[in-house]
Amino acid sequence: MPAAARSSLRFITCGSVDDGKSTLLGRLLVETGSASQAELARCGGDLARLLDALEAEREQGITIDLAHRFFASPRRSFIVADAPGHEQYTRNLVTGASNAELALVLVDARHGILPQTRRHSFLCRLLGVRAFVLVVSKMDLVGWDQSAFDRIVADYREVVPEFTAIPVSGRSGDNVARPSDQMPWYRGPTVLDHLDAADPATAEADSAPFRLPVQSVTRGGVRGLCGLVASGAVRPGDSLRVMPAGTSARVARILLGDATLEQAEAGQSVSIELTEPVDCARGDVLVAAEGAQVADQFEGTIIWLSGEELTPGRQYELKLAGQSALVTILPPKHEIDVNTFDRLPAKTLRMNGIGVAHFWTDHPIVFAPYRDCRELGGFIVIDRISNETVGAGLIHFALRRSENLSPQPPRLSREARAALKGQRPRLVWFTGLSGAGKSTIANLVEAKLYARGCHSFLLDGENIRLGLSRDLGFTDADRAENIRRVGETAKLMLDAGLIVLAAFISPFRAERRMVRALVGEEAFVEVFVHAPLEEAARRDPKGLYAKARAGRLPNFTGIDSPYEPPEHPELVIDTLEISAEDAAEEIVRFLGL
């Protein structure tokens, strides 16, 4: 078949080695002539070993991970995401399913539907896979018995409502690439025939509105908006909107390299020229009519992929199509048990945990619900310190459309209020161990500001923990939420034109960075009040270290909870070197007062 007509299918295989998955894939490779002679020789006739590099990998101490396999029939090329069903199943399976059009679920005819069958199928459906093939393997070991097959098919209907079921033997090849003589009661297609003909109706079907997330804008005389069409189709002359601005424009030309196209459709990478010179940059989305919404508060499914659990309230980076934003995830409404599908109460999510949560971004983003469009509804969550991908999210809906929020009449600005007070609003953030001297110094600073006629306010554990944050404890998540509340409070006070002093242990860099981003770099002054742990414990003004060391105060910073010193504070106060009075003087000088 000429390349011009060769189609393709990307699918994921679910099941373990024991279900005969490797044997089936090996059989497909051999029957389609996709395995090399060397590979065939190496596996010594054992088809499972052809693709199952897992054994070799384990021996070599290499991580078991999602692997990609390739084979081709005369009509179609296949890209297989082969997800091992081991410890990392959720992470691997979710990754593989995110790009799969079809799921091939292996079930051993002798064992029937297992918890992992349900789990894998659930995850595939969650990620938007609509086409399922139930492959009942090892039929030779149950004497090609139709009733065994029928039973499994009936059981599976409770897991997935619609699917194609095929009884096979990977070892003998029955119904894999050639019809079986052993099972005359089965008249359906072989696995390969089905894969060859399958036309998975995905959410990105032809009827979907046109959507194109803009990756970049071409230079060199032509202003082409570059991107891959996420859904729908577009032709020259079509009216589009550039989101989030909502500007209308008309398509002038569609280009791919030097060629001009009459149409661009889902899956194509193109460059689009508009008739009007509208503002458009990376992260914007070209859409037809109601193709996308703009919002900053959402409900969605969060899938946690990192060994370090989710810290609700902490700011992470969200990446969706070409857009980046800071995202704050609230404690999950519930976690989903992937074996029973029960909803469990949860305060956070651990590795491989899946939950439904509210979250908000620091600015409005363009999106579509995940069920309508994978590209505009699926995002990854990145830890801002480690840069790792720690989670993935599927947007269900916006809690409020931000277009309903934004057009407020202009209010008095921070600058105007500050001008009335004749001062520059700043947030001076004191961080350090308990007993380092933060509050002592902050109180001295406030007295000096007052003497100079400055309007200020001091926030510390005394006035926050007893009121605003009375409901919070001292776990990592609660600490993060406490700092978030302090940050928001300080921001309001800055808007009121005040100089705000905040004295909190605030042990985590991520939270301090969050506050810095929240109030703005120009207003934030981070003061690291430094005392070695032993010195702080010796001072122990409130007797807390003694308690913590006696085990009566869990999660105490410096004892059994870490303190991350600032990397680039505006000021460092070494309390072994200078007195509290001199420190306060230095801070006031730094503020230019």
Partner: protein
């Protein structure tokens, strides 16, 4: 209309190239003059047309490539309007490292692995785009499309980021870099079908011609210049040969073939099922050779 397999692969590769260019501070494209490089360069030109691709080409040279590869390299870089950076490891050059006296492993490590690291460090490239494919070798089946390298360019198979949808995480810390592989999901057949469909110019060594050869340890070597030493009893013989994969000429095994065009190559590939890198002598240095080389920073 449903997109064809090649259209989808092309669209995916262009998307990856655009992501790499948009998010990198100093991107570069590795160019080896092989067929994968030819296809990658063709895709890059399509992705950024009408402007030239917004990154230079980097050829990590060993001084032992075929002469036709050098000629093709200079020609296509000029045609694409791209800056061409050629890096030869000065240490390897000063010590005259060659595959005959020093063996393929040392030759490859000094010229290619160390040479690549030097070039990336010297020019402070943070994202290096290359044409490696997942079907080439077992370990690569697990490679990400955007692959993080730690300081010293090491690859840690345990520290790979999950890649969902088409959302790629290009964040990196001080001293870290990223390798980007737009051809990850292509197979050798896909590359040849694309070469045919798009009329991509590839090195003439892929096509069969009579060439001066010597057979050594079951491998047919082509004497590209007079630096190939002949052992006692050996003599050059004209054979009709071509290459499935190109590297340093003393390390590239030719195959006997009459395939003189892309359709003939495709027909021939339908008949043989030897793995493509079979002709690469450097891959036979040990079973876990590729894994080890990758950890050290080899592409």
């Amino acid at each position: 209309m449903v997109l064809t397999h090649l259209q989808r692969l092309e669209a995916e590769a262009i998307h990856i190239l655009r992501e790499a260019a948009a998010e990198a501070d100093r991107p570069v494209m590795l160019y080896s003059a092989g067929k994968d490089s030819s296809v990658l360069l063709h895709l890059a030109r399509k992705a950024f047309a009408p402007a030239p691709p917004p990154f230079p080409l980097l050829h990590v040279d060993t001084s032992w490539k075929f002469r036709e590869m050098y000629a093709l390299r200079d020609r296509v870089a000029a045609a694409a309007g791209m800056e061409l950076i050629v890096h030869r490891n000065p240490e390897a050059q000063a010590r005259g490292i060659n595959p005959f006296e020093h063996g393929s492993a040392l030759h490859t490590r000094l010229w290619k692995t160390d040479g690549l690291k030097q070039a990336l460090d010297t020019h402070r490239f943070d994202v290096a785009i290359a044409g490696a494919r997942r079907d080439e070798e077992g370990v690569r089946a697990k490679e990400r499309i955007f692959s993080l390298r730690s300081r010293g360019h090491r690859w840690d198979p345990r520290q790979q980021r999950p890649e969902l949808w088409r959302v790629y995480n290009l964040r990196k810390g001080e001293g870290e870099s990223i390798r980007a592989f737009p051809l990850s999901n292509w197979t050798e057949l896909d590359v040849w079908r694309y070469v045919e469909a798009e009329g991509v110019e590839v090195c003439s060594l892929y096509f069969a011609a009579p060439r001066p050869t010597v057979e050594r340890n079951g491998t047919i070597l082509v004497a590209d210049d007079d630096r190939l030493p002949l052992f006692p009893g050996e003599s050059l013989r004209q054979r009709f040969v071509r290459f499935r994969t190109l590297g340093c000429y003393p390390l590239s095994g030719a195959i006997e073939s009459r395939a003189r065009s892309v359709p003939e190559i495709l027909a021939e590939m339908g008949a043989t099922r030897l793995p493509e890198r079979h002709g690469r002598l450097i891959d036979r240095d040990g079973t876990a050779a590729m894994e080890r080389k990758k950890r050290e920073g080899y592409f």
